[in-house]
Symmetry: C2
Subunit: 354 residues, 2 copies
DNA sequence: CTGTTAGCGCCTTCAA
DNA sequence: TTGAAGGCGCTAACAG
């Protein structure tokens, strides 16, 4: 604000030039039907001549809106590359959707450990009127208190890929459970009867769902459970490698290993290859995410594709809808994943088959 | 704004409760020194009691600022995964820097092809006062007209990883040229005399710089130039694979291949392995980006690390600095990259050595 | 269909 | 150190 080098054109300048009142100009700009053609033309003329662009802050203050949407991302620290790969398509899809609207996209990130900070942040945003709606992207459970703050406020919000039990609505999710069921069925049909699991963080929502699908599938298919075949790694290649090595040290070997994400699957494959075994000859491996890693792996990886774009589009669409209809509730929605079969899975060796 | 279910506390409510004027409350909130201790305590009390949080839009309108920073990303369409991997660390670093400040981060993206849209967008942002500063992230050249609009406006801005010739300042860059020089020197020292290049888009700024470093290095080191050894791919694994296959079909073979990014390097490695050759035994390969791909490749890939965090930090730091000192110019800055030596490079076979 | 005017909630100058 | 009051630029009732 120091140095008023460039005078900013205001509504009243346009009104003066067009020789009408500010009210008429305002109505014209807001597409109010009651502006005569004659005046509309004069105003449009003046606007173009002056290069007038409305001051958003003034407009928003008067209207009581902010025209801002917030994407609030909660993530682990340090942030994993697999998380990036998950987030960016979502960010992009959301922006793509917003672009033709009048909304701006605001981005904020916090670390899951900082529960206090998250609560403070939400509270601040709920009260300072700086956004009209909020999408929360998190793969870990969010504090009930935070959700409650949100619910009590009138701010429309959506949990994206994040589940909460204290709320029946406002969640757009994808179906980890059925995805892993499908993977297990597929392995079973190939002839596998000994299936291990290298999963991710034990407290991460998606991983919890995947683990429970794995366990339920074993029962459903009448397969042996073996505690030593269930591992938790840290979502990285190295972590997957380490876990697979532990499994390879066991006396009783599985014939297939289901992994919680592609990174860990790559690590598992590495461990297997390092010991001179082959994939899928000796071990079948599956991942999750259908990331670029799964495509460049050798052999390329059977995995599960998450409908990230559809998730993002659904979320933002519903959010805007509920902003326009404040009384509307956003029903919970669960989108399906798709299994992508590639070369890392095959029939087990004959001696292992039933 | 429909349904005033929850009354929003305002400055005047605090003033009433604290039994002072709104002016005094405002001064207290803005940390103006001239507020008596007694009143300060009363006000603080009232604020806490009411849970008052200032309305940002009103404050900003009064102050003539927006408290918003814009990160404007221009990218190719469709967006490549290698671009994602490049952008997200930057986004994160920028947000990390902004978090403790009062600024909010706004995000916008456009496709490079839409030149008109980009110009319109910039113009809109420059005039609607919705942001106080802007970082433009693009790997492709930006229209002079767009830059000029920005220069003429009083809006502080920075080009991040993007060079323009019509401006001597406002650019935070990284040194592609020296990085490739270093790679070439390294290969030369290993004994390589026949070095090919699989580069990316011929019109992308970084790739242009890498190509020119490659050519200059050949001269500098007194090596043969061979047109057939210089290829342009589309930044993907498949593209790199295709180009490498073309090279492998040639009569005269290089002993090393420098690639414009890790993806293409992985593709090249794939082509080589598919023909039964070994890496680095028969061919040495280098990439660029130090992405996760380079670490999971087999063998893992010699590559170049771009200081993304430092770039982002420098950019946002300088931007905020120049927002506080409107007369300040942000000098151009070029950060160094680091070569990361791994196992995809080695001495060439004896028969090829000089 | 249009002009007038009172806000939107806060900041900041001016006098006291 | 404080209170009063006039903006910031735009919107939306209201009266005409």
């Amino acid at each position: 604000m120091i140095g008023i080098s460039k005078y900013n054109i205001k509504l009243r300048d346009v009104a003066k030039l067009a020789d009408v009142s500010v009210g008429t100009v305002s109505r014209y700009i807001n597409k109010h039907p009651s502006v005569s053609k004659k005046n509309a033309a004069k105003i449009q003329n003046a606007i173009e001549q002056l290069g007038y662009i409305p001051n958003l802050m003034a407009r928003n203050l008067a209207k009581g809106v902010s025209n801002n949407l917030l994407l609030y991302i909660l993530q682990e620290k340090p942030i994993l590359e697999s998380t990036w790969l998950y987030e960016l398509p979502i960010i992009q899809s959301i922006y793509e959707y917003i672009r033709p609207t009048n909304y701006s996209l605001q981005l904020a990130m916090d670390y899951l450990e900082d529960k206090l900070e998250i609560g403070r942040f939400i509270n601040e945003y709920v009260n300072s009127k700086r956004v009209d709606g909020m999408i929360i992207l998190s793969t870990f459970e969010i504090d009930d208190a935070t959700i409650l703050t949100l619910m009590k406020s009138e701010l429309p919000f959506i949990l994206l890929g994040n589940q909460t039990n204290i709320l029946a609505a406002n969640q757009i999710l994808f179906d980890n459970y059925h995805a892993i069921n499908e993977v297990m069925d597929y392995l079973y049909q190939l002839g596998h009867r000994r299936i291990a699991l290298i999963n991710g963080f034990a407290h991460q929502q998606h991983m919890i769902q995947r683990a429970s699908a794995y366990c339920d599938s074993l029962k459903r298919l009448g397969l042996d459970t073996c505690d030593e075949w269930v591992k938790n790694a840290n979502h990285t290649v190295d972590g997957g490698c380490k876990c697979m090595n532990e499994i390879l040290d066991l006396k009783k070997q599985p014939t297939a290993v289901v992994c919680g994400n592609d990174d860990m699957a790559i690590g598992a494959m590495k461990a297997i290859k390092d010991r001179g075994f082959s994939i899928p000859g000796d071990y079948s491996i599956t991942g999750f995410d259908d990331s670029i890693l799964s495509r460049i792996a050798e052999p390329d990886l059977t995995t599960v594709k998450i409908p990230l774009e559809a998730l993002a589009n659904t979320a933002i669409e519903k959010l805007i809808e509920s902003m326009n209809h404040p009384d509307m509730t956003i029903p919970k929605k669960v989108l399906a994943c798709t299994m992508v079969v590639r070369s890392s899975t095959g029939r087990p060796k004959p001696e292992y088959e039933l």
